[in-house]
Symmetry: D2
Subunit: 368 residues, 4 copies
């Protein structure tokens, strides 16, 4: 229990269920003196929010975040930041049918066993609605990292079912509803999703996340490695089933002579490592890839049981994303930004001024 | 900093470098009353220890673990358990050549930037030697889980370079030096490794880990999900670059109608989820798969720089594993056991249904 | 940083400044299944809230707490509980005069040095207003402890300036504005406070807190002792400068033959220990005593400096308590209840003797 | 459980029982680059160690600490520091008589209820022997604080039974076996202790701890205040029953006009606060006072019960301190140093370079 927090020094704690009056959270540990761009926070929330395209759930939420504390005259004070997002379009009546049954592939069954009680309306706490708060907190982290280090944290849809992006054009990402960096694949995506919706089914996706300009030296040996904390943060996103850093599973067939990134006076010559060596950032781009499962809320009937253990047939009604992976793009960015911000603070904590004469090579080593 | 611990309620903290006098750790939170089988702990250490086969480093360590506290007359007392393993075969002279250079693909470069100082002997703290302590702690967790719940935590080599195990015969796993569950692939593995050694190169591997008989309900919403903590623990193992739960990256191309595991009165009909729904154990087998990169310590020259930023050519001498993945089998088991043990305790903490039956003597003592 | 949380397994995180739009918090780790009495929570808030008597600040707040999550149909679900209390009577104009000066005895000087920025309105984050959220969270803990163990957590004013309560009549405590258990001292208290107000000064107080029916065995060796965590929680209350457990400072002159509480088959014969031995609850009443300093916000001029380091003379205007100690009674109860609840959960986590009786349905779900 | 750690960023975790083979610990988070003075560490251990004077237990331990990791060529590396102290003079046979009985005033009763098992030899984990590791870790913190900030952490015996030190002469403290700063009281102390020993009884003590030159700004609102963490650390020392910061309980009778320390351009004019305002260091001396109870191990018979609940009469044999408070002097210093070091790191973590232009006034404000 007490599992609703992430991060040690930059810590987000969240609350809220899909169909309660509001969701929200507390960001604890944001350094003072950051001039907050509230519109940029709202912009990230808008990127994630439901109802914006026909490919995502038709639930419509304004998702307006209120900042209740920790910011004075537009500047962070170093005190905890209270975040509140009201739920405005919850329709609880949609869910009464699932009160006593477990939707297959959902957390209904496990929450019920864990707690002996569950808020069955729209998944309650297990709903992806909770991730809106993460996006708001991540937007604060992104601003800090950008202003202080020029760090860019960006994500895109790398694959959706059988359709794989082959070109990486960052400018494209924000121009289409799929966050797809390959303009040539938009038609195929559109067609695939149309068919999927007709079939009442859903599909998985792969999201890639990249952080550029991360300084060398973030990450703590030996358990709180940067990559370990990234894996934790990514796997904490609803529906994520896999995480790769750098070349990921491809390393299984690689040989050492290929995998190791050569160091030269002008920087690394490659980036198989994905920007992390020994759990510590190397100055190369941090490359992360995650897989999101297809949502289990589909209109195709599925076998399940009820709370008495009797067999039932389920059709999930309500408003659902045929591909939850799409909206995970801003969420994945948020989680990576939160982890980086936390590790920046942890790294800064042990900065030993007497000896830390970061040598010239540090500047050289940022390539990759 | 302060990153040398893992787990909240069952917590392991470790210390020690590759070439210091000893490595060790503290297990804090092991419940009292566990009759410890010391031989079983040593057996897991022996499975991991170097020098046991020609496929692993020729460094020879006895890896005898001493239990210094927390166990009284063979039974855990609930107090912290001190673990100590002396280093007996360190040869520091092997490493003086790398004092001022960064081995490519290693943590030398990042540790040096992080701390402004590094113990360069054999990787110092970044050496996989540290994982011996994890294996000892994991062995304690395995015993508890086995005795109380019948949980089995087991791992095997699923793939090494181009050679993939196709059969899963658990009895085979402990019978060969590769922890390979497919007897038909031993010859191919042997041939591949022989060639690799001759070439002075190394290779990656995939390890699968399975936990059976895990009760329903372990895992904490929303950030401390069981799968998130497993991902963290696995990625904290040296050389791991990817983690999958259940079907992992295969879900990208799956549809919801396929992926969701049907529930019937007699149990789940499949296990695409890998035993975790909404971050909480479902009672299905927990299935985890990880990828380990090829070690960067190879005898093929590689380009690098020294601490002055000048180019150098590196050949890593010393004694190294051509495939560090092989020895990761007991380490991966240990990490999964530690996470499960931690989450069992966290789950038990909030159990409100079982009434506290303090023994009779408790009632007597209430005066005052 | 990230210091806005207390507790490990029953954890409260708070946000909010004196003059922001709202204060609030998140209770993470409340076990599921608790039928919450919302009126009892509000009752504790009313006991703490300002404006209720002429002895406390004339700021008037409704202090109505909204529960935004974690409770479904009146019962806790095991998910995080969001708490929100709107600020309705903040008058920021009162405080503009102190924008650039440091009130002596206040946190103005230290916050400004710590963060380089401060929300100067009414103390901002350092205001005792934040403690309202603690009272709400503590009320939840109190209900759980009461329902499950019959634990009573109660506090009273033991001394205010020169006036000391000599009788402990629990029934009296709620009947007067001083939370004084000695009806014979009410007149003296009233007279003293009237003179004090006239003089524009303030005074300190001693609050005693008692928890009865606490089971034996709560508290974790060696650093997270129950008494250590109580001391931490009490000292985290604004203005507290001292904490005693049991006989407290009187032990300096005691001899072992006097201090040690004899054990008999029918219980302890005394309670010098204050209910804690070796950091673990003994089943005796837990007795805690704390000292609160006189508020520094008084109308008697005091020497200070401004942010430019120049001398200034300060008179604190605004609405302030002449004795902040009085309102600390419900706050101290709340903090003790939070610590006890946290330690109950920590203790329960390691309970290895009670077997896990998962319900029947659990067995059904194990397939796959 | 998992309560054997203290500190967040500078964290000490300990293990070991009074009569096991060794005690030890891990310091996690010591910044790299500290040139360690090993003799100074040993010196603090020698100050604490038993057998040095006739006023403390006659158990004789060398208490030689071995540093097993985290230090390379005499300099800290930023990696975890393993500490080991072997037990050499344990005599377990002394304790077999108390196997089934609970010594009154000791942790026997509570440990037994908590864990259902206890290592009864010499108190096992509840023995003050564990504090030797704290002293070693505290000595590291003291060196860092001294070298970097000139912080001095010192303690002395302020009162023992009826004998109170009236003069504070720091030079005296290390010159007598009582750590007494008042040379005129040595005779009275000696006489009192001689009589006490003859009577077979024990006595309490008050220890004062002072930290000078602590920079302004350490401490985290609102729960992790510097004073709250100091209270926690002090109360975690065996036998401590009370903690005061600054004027402590005397504030109950103080008025605001007296208590608040005036600020002038040249510093504070007094130090009632004890160096902490709003939970954050003010630059004034940090003043802490603690009370230690008389040990319950005395040769005067006392009533108790055995594990079957039957009445027994206890005489504690073995070798014990008639006043455990004396040896608490170096322990109290160690705990304060650990807390300060932790808070320095936490403070440094959030250092926001854009805005942290520590103004001139900071230098002025260091008065005491």
């Amino acid at each position: 229990m007490a599992g609703n927090s992430i991060g040690d020094l930059f810590r987000l704690t969240t609350f809220g269920e899909s169909h309660g009056p509001a969701i929200g959270g507390i960001v604890d540990g944001c350094p003072p003196g950051l001039v907050l761009d509230l519109e940029a926070i709202q912009h990230d929330l808008d990127r994630r929010k439901p109802g914006t395209s026909r490919y995502t759930t038709q639930r419509r939420e304004d998702d307006v975040v209120k900042i209740l504390s920790g910011v004075f005259e537009g500047v962070t004070t170093g005190c905890s930041i209270g975040l509140l997002i009201e739920n405005t379009d919850q329709r609880s009546q949609d869910y009464s049918a699932i009160k006593d049954v477990f939707r297959p592939g959902h957390a209904d069954y496990t929450y019920w066993h864990k707690h002996g009680i569950r808020d069955y309306r729209g998944g309650g706490r297990s709903s992806a609605r909770e991730t809106a708060v993460r996006v708001a907190a991540g937007a604060i982290a992104k601003q800090y990292l950008k202003q202080r280090f020029g760090v860019e944290v960006r994500a895109y849809l790398a694959q959706l079912g059988p359709v794989t992006a082959e070109k990486l054009d960052w400018d494209q990402v924000e121009k289409n509803d799929f966050f797809c960096p390959d303009v040539d694949k938009l038609e195929a995506l559109d067609a695939f999703m149309r068919d999927l919706k007709k079939a009442g089914d859903s599909v998985g996706a792969r999201i890639n996340v990249v952080a550029s300009n991360v300084p060398v030296g973030w990450g703590e040996p030996v358990f709180d490695r940067l990559d370990a904390d990234i894996a934790h943060a990514m796997m904490s996103i609803n529906a994520v089933k896999a995480v790769e850093i750098g070349d990921g599973f491809a390393v299984v067939e690689q040989q050492g002579s290929t995998h190791r990134d050569a160091l030269t006076p002008t920087g690394f010559t490659a980036n198989h490592a994905g920007g992390i060596l020994g759990g510590i950032s190397s100055g190369q781009d941090i490359r992360v890839s995650i897989a999101l499962k297809p949502t289990s809320s589909i209109s195709i009937p599925g076998a399940s049981i009820n709370t008495s253990g009797e067999p039932v047939e389920m059709i999930t009604k309500g408003r659902h994303d045929p591909c939850v992976g799409i909206r995970a793009v801003p969420i994945a960015e948020a989680m990576l930004a939160i982890v980086l911000m936390d590790h920046f603070l942890r790294h800064q904590a042990q900065n030993h001024q007497v000896s830390v004469t970061t040598p010239d090579i540090a500047r050289i080593g940022r390539g990759g």
